[in-house]
């Protein structure tokens, strides 16, 4: 199968809407089909990464479990926009999974070199 570089940008907080889950599911599908997948957390999407979430309290599934599957499906690195973290007073130590933090120029390059960018 032809291979493209697909970048998924997740920009919504985890539980108030289903957008976060939609982006994860689409990225996992792309990984199953052996595409080159980048997964970038941006804006309120970085709230998905916060530690100690227990979404069972609102009868929802804690998003961290789904995020952990990214690596299992071969999406090796979760990428995070540094500006979005700074704007929310978050740092790498606050996050539940290991991530690679990208500066503005790296984020721009990522978008520029991707064949397809899915930004839900």
């Amino acid at each position: 199968m032809q291979q493209k570089s697909l970048t998924f940008i997740t920009r919504q907080a985890p539980y108030g809407s289903n957008k976060a889950k939609l982006v994860i599911d689409a990225a996992l599908a792309a990984a199953v089909f052996e595409q080159q997948v980048n997964f970038l957390f941006m804006d309120d999407g970085v709230f998905q990464l916060v530690q100690n979430q227990t979404a069972e309290s609102i009868s929802s599934k804690t998003i961290g479990r789904a995020l952990e599957t990214l690596e299992l499906y071969g999406i090796e690195q979760a990428l995070v926009d540094s500006v979005s973290l700074e704007e929310r007073a978050l740092s790498a130590e606050d996050l539940a999974i290991p991530v690679k933090i990208l500066n503005v120029e790296q984020v721009r390059q990522l978008a520029a070199r991707s064949d397809v960018v899915i930004n839900l």
């Binding site: 697909l6 689409a26 996992l28 199953v32 089909f33 397809v116």
Partner: protein
């Protein structure tokens, strides 16, 4: 040019679905190919055959149905998004022991692999939300 469209908003609650429809019509009228329209999340409600609207408003699911059929364009409603919103074809309806069928005839229910395939096969994937 070979396009695919990703539609993720409901016709009843935001303009994105109508923008997607208008874009699709414009692309076809210029002679471009639409490889697939993929309805995702609330976007599956564009394929709700049971949607009824006041007479002076456009019934977007019906408009999609006519457009997709006339131009022989494939459209897919994401299975997990569709089932949770009650968008069922006859197979799914039988499987889940429901009495009704609510999916447009022009649209199929399938998995996210069809979105990935559309991203790979098309020269442009345009997302409408």
């Amino acid at each position: 040019m070979k396009f695919s469209l990703l539609v993720s908003t409901s016709p009843a609650s935001s303009q994105g679905a109508m923008t997607a429809y208008q874009f699709a019509r414009a692309a076809v009228s210029q002679g471009h190919e639409i490889y697939r329209v993929f309805f995702y999340g609330d976007g599956v409600l564009n394929a709700n055959a049971l949607s009824t609207v006041p007479q002076d408003e456009i019934n977007l699911p019906r408009a999609w149905d006519e457009f997709l059929t006339n131009h022989n364009i494939e459209s897919v409603a994401c299975v997990s998004s569709a089932l949770i919103r009650g968008i069922l074809d006859s197979d799914e309806s039988a499987r889940h022991k429901m009495t009704g069928v609510s999916l447009l005839e022009s649209t199929q229910i399938a998995g996210l692999g069809q979105l990935v395939d559309a991203s790979i096969q098309s020269e442009r994937l345009i997302s409408f939300a």
